[in-house]
Amino acid sequence: MYSYTDFDEAFVRERVSQFRHQVERRISGALTEDEFKPLRLMNGLYLQLHAYMLRVAVPYGTLNPAQMRQLAYIAERWDKGYGHFTTRQNIQFNWPKLKDVPDILDALADVQMHAIQTSGNTIRNVTADHFAGAAADEIEDPRPVAELLRQWSTDHPEFQFLPRKFKIAVTGSPNDRAVTKAHDVGLRMVRDASGEPGYEVIVGGGLGRTPMVGKVIRDFLPKADLLPYIEAVVSVWNLLGRRDNKYKSRIKITVHENGLEKIRDLVEERFNALRPEFGGVDQTLLKEIEAQFTPPAFVSKPTDAYEAARASNAAFRSWTDTNLAAHKADGYAIVSISIKKHGATPGDATADQMRVMADLAESYGHSELRISHEQNVILPHVHKSDLPAVYAALRDADLATANIGLVSDIIACPGMDYCALATARSIPIAQEIATRFDELKLEHDIGPLKIKISGCINACGHHHVGHIGILGLDRAGVENYQITLGGDGTEDAAIGTRTGPGFPAEEIIPAIERLVLGYLDLRSSPEETFLETYRRLGMEPFKAILYPPEDKANAA
């Protein structure tokens, strides 16, 4: 993976030292909060409901074991012994003290990490397919391009005062696991007629208050044109984007208000002006970056032990059925480690668990770890013969939950347990749904189902693209939960549709249970997924399940 150059190292250290002085001046009273707030946000430090929160960038979701161990160390030394992995592949620490943050940032810099541009109206951490470099369906590893984008966007002088934040996601596979259509810019690798790889460029996607599926602005962009083209997109929006109203400032609104055609023409014009200026320097840099992402030296050995363990151990078999994905190398598998044990907080890992995952990556995973936007941790390269040992170690660390892609593998934002913007809690809802379906022992029967929960309209929990989305609201001083159905975050992206009136906290779990059990009766066969059934039948039968007539009578 990418290693900092001397330039990167000096830049990050310089920023930490600047921030150390800014914190000192804030504590001494020399800086007011109004003066300090933009400075702390530039360094990923938020103030939440009960404490500060530090958001640390995990560029394109890739970590090495030393970095994971350092996160564990930070969690123990300066926080409460755990960290929260987010839907933007970042990690958040929920309890840092202001005076300790400069030391935390130095500890991060020790392992080539930082919290820069995890906030503010800048280009945020570039996210990528969490199976990048490993997936069987991949055309090319998208991470070199993600790293190129990271270097280009970090401290880019033109893009430090954008109309609003700007999020880029990239996938090297035609099957989109990076929700590229819900980003300001999404890049999906495809091949042209001659088989050359390039990018489909998607623009103007986004969730939040006005959810929109991104639109294809360029069917095929040759790889070499990527950086000037993206710069053209951002600079067109930088000029056109509205700064008068933050709800209308994201590029999705700019595209909507101006029309895709106009934006496309402006981008092409700007691109033609910019392209000669790049003069190939970006491609030279990309070559250097690519050299740091060479695939690991895959080995070839028998997989008999794996097959034998599957045959003899039902729990192991079940885990391999749900938590493995197809790897491009023979004999290898991609392991998704669920940090969604039934009843636990989605995305939270303790320091001990982080160390176990780091050790496993080192012993069995070519020293690579990934964070998924679905808030799980990935070991991208594990030989199948090592899976029984990996499983045993995960089980000992309480990390062997076999639920990837199932009803309890819920995305939940921090909601009102932490987030100052929240209108309701989301974590307890996720905990209760997972616990309930574990009791019912039905989740494997139910099959693939994505539930996503946000604690406010900002939609950090991606509820719009959940097969079942849940949005927590404040209705006259009471937590209330609105359900959407039919959302999809893949290459067939769709925004979910509201079912009708929301449910108070004590009714939302039974409502979800009714909905899912109802689906079991509606599906045409055990193979038909929840989403497929919804697409075949539409909203009506699900509505009838959610709002039975007698309830209506009672509610009147």
Binding site: L49, H50, A51, K97, T345, D417, A422, D474
Partner: protein, 99 residues
């Protein structure tokens, strides 16, 4: 003419820890809501908020929150403010264990 004023407390987060604090009648910042000053006059509330905002080296983000008189002192009326008196619901962290 104007609507009846809902009683308020002045609340903020402590500068260093970020912990929730409330302003007391004798100008201290307390970590326990019941010790806060319950303000039922609108003009006085504005003055107390200004008093709080002047203390930028001690607290962050002072604001007026709705409250009501309880047996032991002011109590929250909204669930958000109630959570701020306790801490998160997924772990025994924050005030619920530190108080």
């Amino acid at each position: 003419m104007s609507r009846r004023f809902t009683p308020k407390v002045v609340t903020a987060n402590a500068l260093i820890e970020g912990d929730v604090v409330w302003l007391t009648e004798d100008d201290r910042w307390t970590r326990t809501m019941s010790e806060a000053e319950l303000i039922d006059d609108e003009a006085h509330a504005e003055i107390r908020l200004l008093d709080a905002q002047r203390q930028a080296d001690v607290v962050v983000g002072a604001y007026l929150a709705d409250a009501r008189a309880g047996e032991d002192g002011p109590e929250p009326t909204h669930f958000r403010e109630a959570f701020r008196t306790r801490g998160p619901s997924n772990y025994a962290h924050g005030k619920q264990v530190e108080a």
